[in-house]
Symmetry: C2
Subunit: 361 residues, 2 copies
C-alpha cells in the first residue's frame, strides 16, 4: 500500500481517511507519508516520532510553515469514507477525519511534492497526537526538541475553518471550584452542612454572567464561561460534604492564561479554586506583512478563531499564525463528519496561487 | 454452634454481633434463632424466608407486637465485637450491628423465652433485609403474605433510640430534578444551552428554603429538604445538555407521600421531576392507650423519630407503633458503631417490667 500524492486532493483525502490513524496509532499513516515524500528531491524530510517535517531550502527571503495533524478522534462506524450529496445538494466526502483534518492534510501533501519552486521557502509539518492530552502533542514535542524546525515568518495551520482565515485563537482555562460541607444523615440534615447547596451562589453567579466580546488586533473574540461538569453526593441518604464544578473559561487573546486564572479566582472568591488545565491563546497576528498578503491573496475576510488550536504554539515562538483549511469546524468529532469537496479544491487552488505567485511582503 | 438465650442481654448481643448477617445473608442467624426458640413451649414459631415470628396465645385482652431486624449493613473490619471504654468513660460493646440493631434483638430474644406469662399476648418478629431496598424488606414481605401476623394493639420496633421512645417517623420522598439544554463545543458556548446553568434557579431556591417544623399528635417533626446528589457533564470541552439533582424530602407525618410529591412538583415547577423513591411516614400514635401506658412505664419523655423506619409499616396497617431500643441512632452504619452496655440492660429491665406488670389499658 502506498499514497498517491499526484491524485486529486479529493482522492487523496479519501486515501488518507481510509487509513485509520486514531491518536496513538499514527505509525502506519506516518510511514506512508514518509515513503510518499521520498521521491521529492526538493524536500529535506525529517522524522520525529510519528511526525514528519519536510523543508525546502531555496534561499528565499521568507519562510512559511504549513502544518496539519495526522490523527483523528476515535472511529465510530465512519470509516471507510464515501461520497454523498448532502441536504443542501452539495457533494461531500463523508467519514472520520474528513473535516478534522485529512482534507487539509491532503491539500498540503499534494502541494508539498508539486511545488518544487515556491515563492517562499516552505516547512511542511504533519504531526501526531493533536486530539489528546496537550502533553502528547506532536507539534509541542517538536517545539521542545527542535524549535528551529518551527521557525518561520508566518505559519498556516490547516484546521477546518470552512475555507475562511481564522486568526489566532482564544485561550482556555479550566478550574475546579469546590464547596465543602459536613456530612450527616439526610433525615437529620440540620446536623450537617450541605455542600451542594453551598455551590448555589457560585452557580447562580456563573449562570447570570454575560461573557465579553473583546476586540484584539481588529478581530472580535467572543468569550465563554461555563460549567462543563458538576458533581457531588455521597449516598442518597447522606448530606454531601463536597460538591464541585469544572468551569471552562475561553478567554480572548488580549490576556494571558495567568490573568484568566486570576479573574476566576476573584469570580469564585470564597471557594476552593484549583487549576485543571490552562493554555494561552494567540493574538491573530494579522498585522504581519505576510499575513496581510495571504489574506488579500485568498480573498476572504478574516475572522477570529474561538476554539484553542496549535496556532498558539507558533504564537508562543513569535511566529504569526492563522487557521485555514477546508471543512466546517462544528462537524469536527461528530459521527457524521463530512467535508464539501469544493472546499478542498478551493483551498488547494488558493494556497497554490499564493505560494507560486509574487510574494512581496 | 448455638445461641444461649439465657445469657445476659449483653452477652447475647455479643453472640449475635459475632454471627455475620449482612443483608441477603441472614440464613445462618435465622437458623440459630429458630433453633434457640424450639424449647420455648409457650411460643408458636413461624418461619417466613429468613424471618422468624414467635407468638404467645394466652387469650389476653391485648396483643403487643415487638420487632427487630436481624441484618446489618456490610462489615468493614468491625466484627468480631469487643468491649471497650469510650471517651466518656462508659463501657461499650463495639462492632457492626451493636447499635443497629442486635442489642435490641438480644433484649427481645431474651425476654421472648423468659416471659412465659406476660400481661399481654406477644408477637415477636425478627426479620431480614431491613438495610436494603424496601422491596426486599422482610417485615414488608410478612405484611403482604401474612398481615394477620402483624396484627396487634400496639407495636414496638427495637430500632436504636438511645433508650428513649421515638414516636412515628417522618416520611421520605426522593425525586430527580432534571434540566435540559443543547450541547455545543465549550469554545462556542453561545451555540448551545447549558443545562448545568439551567439548574441554578432550582438550586438557589433549594438552598434558600427553610424546612418546617410540624407538630403532629403533640410531637414536633422537623423536616429536611436537600440535594443529596448533583450531576451533569459530557466532556470537559462540551456544554452539557443535561444536569440533575437528587432531592430528598423528609416530611412530617401530617402529610402523605403523594402530598409531599405534589409539593416538590410545585417547588420545582418548570423542571422535569421524576419520583425515585417514596414512603409514607407514620403518625406517632402516642394517643393510643397502650402507647400512653408504655411511655409512663418506661418513664422517659417521648420524642419524634426523624428517620424513616418500619414503624410506618405498622401504621399503614392501623397499628400504633413506636421506636424503642438501645444505641445511638447516629452511630448506625458507622464503622465505629458501638452501644453502651448500660443501655442494653436498661431496655431489658424496662420492657420486662412493663410486660410483666399491670397493664390496664
Amino acid at each position: 500500500m502506498s499514497l498517491d500524492l499526484t491524485a486529486t486532493s479529493i482522492d487523496l483525502t479519501r486515501q488518507l481517511v481510509d487509513i485509520p490513524s486514531v491518536s496513538g496509532d499514527e505509525g502506519p499513516i506516518a510511514d506512508l507519508v514518509e515513503a510518499a515524500l521520498a521521491g521529492a528531491t526538493h524536500l529535506e524530510v525529517i522524522r520525529d516520532g510519528d511526525a514528519i517535517v519536510a523543508r525546502t531550502d531555496l534561499g528565499r527571503a521568507r519562510r512559511v510553515v504549513i502544518a496539519g495533524h495526522l490523527d483523528t478522534v476515535p472511529i465510530n462506524g465512519n470509516v471507510p469514507s464515501h461520497v454523498e450529496t448532502d441536504e443542501a445538494g452539495e457533494t461531500v466526502l463523508w467519514g472520520r477525519g474528513t473535516t478534522d483534518m485529512k482534507a487539509g492534510v491532503a491539500v498540503q501533501l499534494k502541494l508539498a511534492v508539486e511545488l518544487a519552486e515556491p515563492a517562499v521557502d516552505l516547512t511542511w509539518i504533519w504531526y501526531d497526537h493533536e486530539e489528546v492530552a496537550a502533553s502528547l502533542n506532536g507539534l509541542g514535542r517538536i517545539a521542545r526538541n527542535r524549535p528551529d524546525l518551527l521557525a518561520g515568518d508566518f505559519a498556516i495551520l490547516g484546521e477546518p475553518s470552512n475555507g475562511r482565515i481564522e486568526g489566532g485563537c482564544n485561550g482556555t482555562v479550566r478550574v475546579r471550584v469546590t464547596a465543602r460541607g459536613v456530612r450527616s444523615h439526610s433525615a437529620r440534615a440540620w446536623m450537617g452542612v450541605n455542600a451542594v447547596h453551598g455551590l448555589a451562589p457560585a452557580l447562580a453567579k456563573l449562570a447570570a454572567y454575560e461573557p465579553a466580546i473583546v476586540p484584539v488586533d481588529g478581530l472580535d473574540y467572543r468569550e465563554s464561561l461555563n460549567a462543563v461538569e458538576i458533581g457531588g453526593g455521597v449516598a442518597t441518604n447522606v448530606i454531601p460534604d463536597k460538591a464541585w464544578m469544572l468551569v471552562n473559561y475561553r478567554f480572548a487573546p488580549d490576556k494571558s492564561a495567568a490573568e484568566a486564572i486570576a479573574f476566576l479566582e476573584e469570580f469564585f472568591a470564597g471557594y476552593e479554586v484549583v487549576v485543571d488545565d490552562a493554555a494561552d491563546g494567540a493574538r491573530p497576528g494579522l498585522d504581519a506583512p505576510l499575513a496581510q498578503e495571504f489574506v488579500r491573496a485568498v480573498g476572504v475576510e478574516a475572522g477570529p478563531k474561538y476554539g484553542w488550536t496549535d496556532v498558539a504554539r507558533f504564537a508562543a515562538l513569535g511566529v504569526p499564525a492563522v487557521n485555514y483549511g477546508p471543512g466546517d469546524p462544528s462537524l469536527a468529532h461528530k459521527d457524521d463528519e463530512r467535508v464539501p469537496v469544493a472546499q478542498i479544491t478551493d483551498c488547494e487552488e488558493a494556497l497554490r496561487a499564493w505560494l507560486t505567485g509574487a510574494i512581496t511582503a
